[in-house]
């Protein structure tokens, strides 16, 4: 796959030739009764509308062009109503094999994966409780497939951290807060909290499908990530001889209760301090990520974000400047 410009860098008048991900595609009828192709095309940096007014200009199998496939297109960037769009001269379905690096086309975490995995390893290394360390190693070190999936999965379909690597980034962020909380509240069992944070969303690797755009798997819809990961934990513990039943129950309790409310899908309420903490830090981290994103997106767009569905409110974007920091530090 040759070099091609990122969508975010395009300007009116630019020519564009290259591969793009089809996010939406429909053949529509114009008022003249002729057919045209109306698409939303994207890469990891953004997306724009694209039109091919003469469907005869589609090469190859027209029906292969569908959401979540790739197209190769040629056209020019124009601007209508303040938004850029692509006016295409040609379009054809592109097989996955033609695509060098999927990561170019899907949003990904801004933190490099190797750096995040090193942090994950360090956390596991810091666990002093031998049972917990063994359990976490079984998941995230010994099981290479899971380790890879855990590094690739998003944290959600749309609510928060909805990009590749988001699950790992979210997990590490909670761990950072948890470390502080365990220093602050001295009665917490830090290693138990670490276990809970690591495992609380691991089932999302199977609940979600994220080879292309993020969706739910059948197992995700039928069982949900909480039941999936509870099953995995139980099996992994079953392979560790002598694992204490009491500890097993307390870890499973954190995982089962981490949504904090029955109507949010947890079959039990948090009943230990560690379970309560994991619930709060998980919830806080997800919601703050949403807020920061809302504040930063379209920063020029007024004091208020659009209505945010995840938080069911608009977010206030005006930031009170931090005193004692230079402008560049404040970004």
């Amino acid at each position: 796959m040759p070099e091609q410009p990122l969508i975010r860098t395009l300007k009116e008048g630019d020519a564009f030739q290259g591969f793009l991900l089809v996010q939406e595609a429909a053949y529509k009828i114009s008022a003249k009764g002729s057919e045209y192709l109306d698409m939303k095309l994207g890469d990891a940096s953004g997306d724009l509308k694209a039109f091919l007014w003469d469907v005869r200009a589609v090469e190859g199998d027209m029906n292969a062009i569908r959401a979540d496939t790739f197209v190769k297109v040629k056209g020019a960037v124009s601007s209508y109503n303040g938004r850029l769009q692509l006016k295409l001269d040609k379009a054809r379905f592109a097989a996955d094999a033609e695509i060098g690096d999927f990561a170019v086309f899907f949003p990904v975490s801004q933190r490099p994966v190797p750096e995040m995995l090193a942090e994950l390893d360090a956390y596991i290394g810091s666990v002093r409780d031998p049972w917990i360390r063994q359990l976490l190693a079984a998941f995230f070190i010994d099981d290479a497939t899971l380790r890879a999936a855990f590094a690739q999965a998003p944290a959600a379909k749309s609510m928060h951290h909805a990009y590749l690597g988001g699950l790992l980034e979210h997990t590490l962020s909670i761990l950072g807060m948890a470390e502080g909380a365990c220093s602050h509240y001295r009665n917490l069992n830090r290693d138990l909290v670490v276990a809970g944070v690591f495992l609380h969303d691991v089932g999302k690797t199977a609940e979600l499908s994220y080879e292309r755009s993020i969706g739910y798997s059948d197992a995700g819809n039928l069982l949900g990530h909480i039941a999936l990961e509870a099953d995995w934990i139980s099996r992994a513990i079953g392979k560790i001889e002598g694992f204490p039943e009491e500890l097993r129950m307390q870890i499973l309790h954190i995982v089962l209760s981490h949504h904090g409310r029955l109507d949010f899908g947890s079959p039990v309420l948090p009943k230990t301090p560690e379970a309560l903490l994991v619930h709060y830090l998980d919830d806080l981290d997800g919601k703050l990520e949403v807020m920061f994103r809302a504040v930063q997106e379209d920063a020029g767009g007024g004091s208020w974000s659009p209505f945010n569905r995840a938080l069911e409110r608009m977010i206030y974007r005006n930031r009170w400047p931090v005193v004692g920091l230079s402008k560049t530090e404040q970004s």
Copy 2:
């Protein structure tokens, strides 16, 4: 343990000597400053208040007499304010070893256990799907411990079928209705429904403690019966080579979703016809049992039951007589 009359058969003026279960016990101070023992004693047929006015008449360790232990008592039945009570001359703690048959002291299902187990076996035998039959056999035939527990456990702490054998009785009752429903709605997979009904509450054998009065185990409070049984099913399936993943998901889905609502503790909603059916029949059977009991209890006590906490309403006790049945058939 010698023969002794059932509480239900006692009349004012009777002498009573024998063993009883302590349901409540407290040492209280009379207005004269003297101490007396105030208890609620029971057997499977009922319970009554019992008083020992002179604590010096307690033999042995006074503090051993607590809720959920047994006492041996001697006294007489008197009647105050329309209710019978025991006025005791003597009382002493009785060790479990002295009790011949615990079943004498706890409420039990009115259906004989062997009859119910035979019905259970017949249902398993009727399953034509080989995977489902194997799974149910692994639970209820091959695992003698679970089979015994399944025959002994209550279906709930207090909501419905809250007596020994209640879980099995409730399961069989749902199966009876399910059989009819699968004939009626021809698109249902009957064997899948049977699997769902058998397994939907099997975790209650571990969620509840019922050696004496019914309570929750630690695992019950921390994990709940849904997570417990999902774990067991997953493990049991893991031991059946070649068990289809699709079937595994659909069975687990029925179990996880059978409370029908997230705020009632199901982490997912029923999304297959079989899961929907199991939810409705389970719910209906439990609520009808409550209603029938409310109608029958204290039948002389007016048109209305007391406020029923499980159903959050009073139940109307007046029954419109069935035409074409003799009086005796109608009871």
Copy 3:
């Protein structure tokens, strides 16, 4: 009205001439500033989009063409974006009088009405309680108008059984389940249950309007079917000399409480076993019908139905095959 092909049987390239029901109609402005007619046309077998690009080709009164009227059209079937549509050459308003059989244009129950009415009669004949039999006969046998409406009405506007004959089909389906339930739970008064099922939705014949597409009548919106049928029952009973007040109350109670919850429009909760049963079987039957339809519709469309508004979830369409049935039996 001459023979014409069903919409379901049309193929790309077919010519079509005949009458169709207008489900939606709008005159729109094309980008060229010219006006065209954009419609959704249907018969009982399905519907498709239809366009008449030159409004001058509309014969007669253009404004008469509105939702819930008929049109006579002439055109050809084309295919755009994987969906068939009609490109019209001509269109004109068609008076009701031109339409031979309305049933050709509205979805109807798959069960023949005479068969269903025979089943209804058999149920009434099976009632042994003379008061109940008299009451049901007054409604469904003696009152020919109501009998006809009951055989024609849908069971709902959109939630379930939303087609002509749906109310009768739904009622009979519940009766089938109720029969089984009354054998299973021996304490139920079967005739009282039968009365409740027959009458629980009879008010829908007046709550809904269904001469054409289904809607609500003024009385339906102002009073609702529960109040309507309670009124009818009270009047019908008033004409049966000596009808027992106790039975009157119990029947009205079933009807008033059959939605099961106050916030679902029942002014009282079910307080008798019969009322509870009718509520559950009604609810179950409606929801199962929705599920089965979702499973069957667009069967090729993936494992999951679209989000279903009536059930507020997607339905899983993958069916685990019934063992011991040949392929044809499983459809």
Copy 4:
């Protein structure tokens, strides 16, 4: 029945002999093992605890003394812990026939019934719409039994206006406010509002039982006052030849919707201005009555009423004085 002092007028040391209503009664066991009679006795002015320490002093049938019967007692008023109580020397069951005037023993409205009935008649006389006037006359003038019941019934069991005559008082109070509202909002149909107010709670005469203490009748529990009065209205209208169907629907709509929310027992929401108004004025009048009572009761008891169950809050009792009124006007 000879003259006897009202409970409210009793002082410590007074002797008392006379009839009282039994509100609660129980035979209890003292610490000495002897039996005593513990009662709460009342008349319309208040109630107090009463003890008979030697049950042998009960004359006649001990078990006849129950809640909602009368007793004849003899004893003296003493004061314990800041509250007056009766120490009895004698007590016996008193048959209803011995009681001259039940009204002496149950709380009643402070407005004289004849005055209220005159006001009711005036309202009916003021109705200009002939159909509405006829309907109201049928209920409240022509039907002497209903008129009497309407003048005697309470408005609720415990929420508000829970005393004899409360229903009529509450109805008239709403009418007073409604009169003002109809002058203020000129688009309201005043006669329709008057009909709605008159009829909105008339079913309470049958929903409640109030010969003695207030309770629910069987019909009340099974059907509720809304269904009861809808039935009555429908029947009454059925007897008025030519009564317009449109008006019938609008009146029934006001009655059915007057609780304002489905979860408060109205099967439909208010959808006309008149229905909305009746709902608000009814709700306001009931809640204000509760507040005023809370403010006035135990006026010396601090700034706050006890937690009020009807309103789910405490009421603030401190009143900001009205300027321009003398002290006596402000009470």
Copy 5:
């Protein structure tokens, strides 16, 4: 600004030249790839769609034409699909300075402002409590800026009285009802009620922005009108020497509690009769305004209003005629 016809008076075929408010504007792409301007234009009497098919006919800065600006347009009224629309020949952005009277373009109260202000003054003059009169004068008489804003602000963004002058009209309407209520319920402190009504929504002058179309200010979104007005009241009282703390608390309580429920944004529940009354009359007045508007709008459009979001129901438009009024009085 020269005279121009009101939108409400336009008929098909009329030419139109003049200024209009842009309610919505978008540059869209036609199927031919050409750009057109699609707008919704309005004045205080109504709005209609407007199209300029050739964007080259836009004079001046195309991008200046946005929602909440003005345009000068020239074109003709045509009718499509039963609705009028404007087909434009020309359009240009119009600066605010060109607009003579904003009130021509935004919906306003039908009551003249001077008349309403005179009524406001009369109410303040009628207050006998000197503290309350002083407080109200400080707000509405002495503070000319607030007085002006209070006369101009709408009562809400969209729920009710959503037009200029709506806040004052709503306030006076509640006062009218309150006057009647205080005569009816003699225990109410009328001056306290008047204070509560006057101040309950005064913060809306700052919560909403209404120079052009109605929106929320930053302070409105961050603090809400209840917190805003509580702050203002506290400051105003701080400037009145000797203002009694008890009265201060009771006034603030009415304001803080006037939404009646915590989940509707009141941090406390109404706990005094005056607070309860203000809540009910405020709620009633807003909802009645919505109903009357729904009844009157599009009076020819059938018995039912469209689904009303503020009330979450459809409104019944059929009015039962008032007897004794001539036709003209009934409008």
Copy 6:
């Protein structure tokens, strides 16, 4: 006031003479008809039941002995039913003036007040934003009365930190967590968070009354602590010339929204990252305090705490031991 032993240190058989706080007091009637005094007496270390069997042994004014007063008593410790109690020989009302140090009788924070105030001062000193530092100084340094109240007030009546000094302890604990969160989430404005934490509950100094047992003040019940502190903040800012309006809004927003939900009494939802963080850390800190207390109380009493009303669940008391800590560190 002479030295006296703490209640926690008393053993059966000890004599006791000294002052105690009356938590509950009632004169009751014994079965013999004699009167006795039944009290619950406490100091900061605990409480126990106390009985004076002969009321004639009460010296001075019997009625002065009420909840929240002090008594001087003389008696002996006895043990009944496993609990200690006081059998009194004498009791008399004790005036407040006789009590040396109220702190001896009410539960207090385990952290010394001077240490906490030093920490508070350090936090204020660390604020780099000059406006925020000035505002906090105005509250907690310059206003000696508020500073004293802030150091003395509890954080709640019963939910969490319900003891003297609890408000300050709770505030500092949140600040500790907030410090960590602001290092972790780099986009937060730390000084703004600090302001929000300091001020979020400061109104509790006036909402609660805590000279004796904790209750609500009139202002607390009528206005609530959120409205109280919003008023104070607004006034304090009003005295700081040039205080930026943007910062004022953002601080008030944090305070108004810190309950996180409208139905929990916040009139607005958190709409800035800082407001969201303060809400979560406040909520977490309160709930963890409740959990830790539940875990530690009655540590010998089984795996589960009693049902906890603040958290609406039982708390699991079994702690999984921290690895690498000696036993003494783990307490």
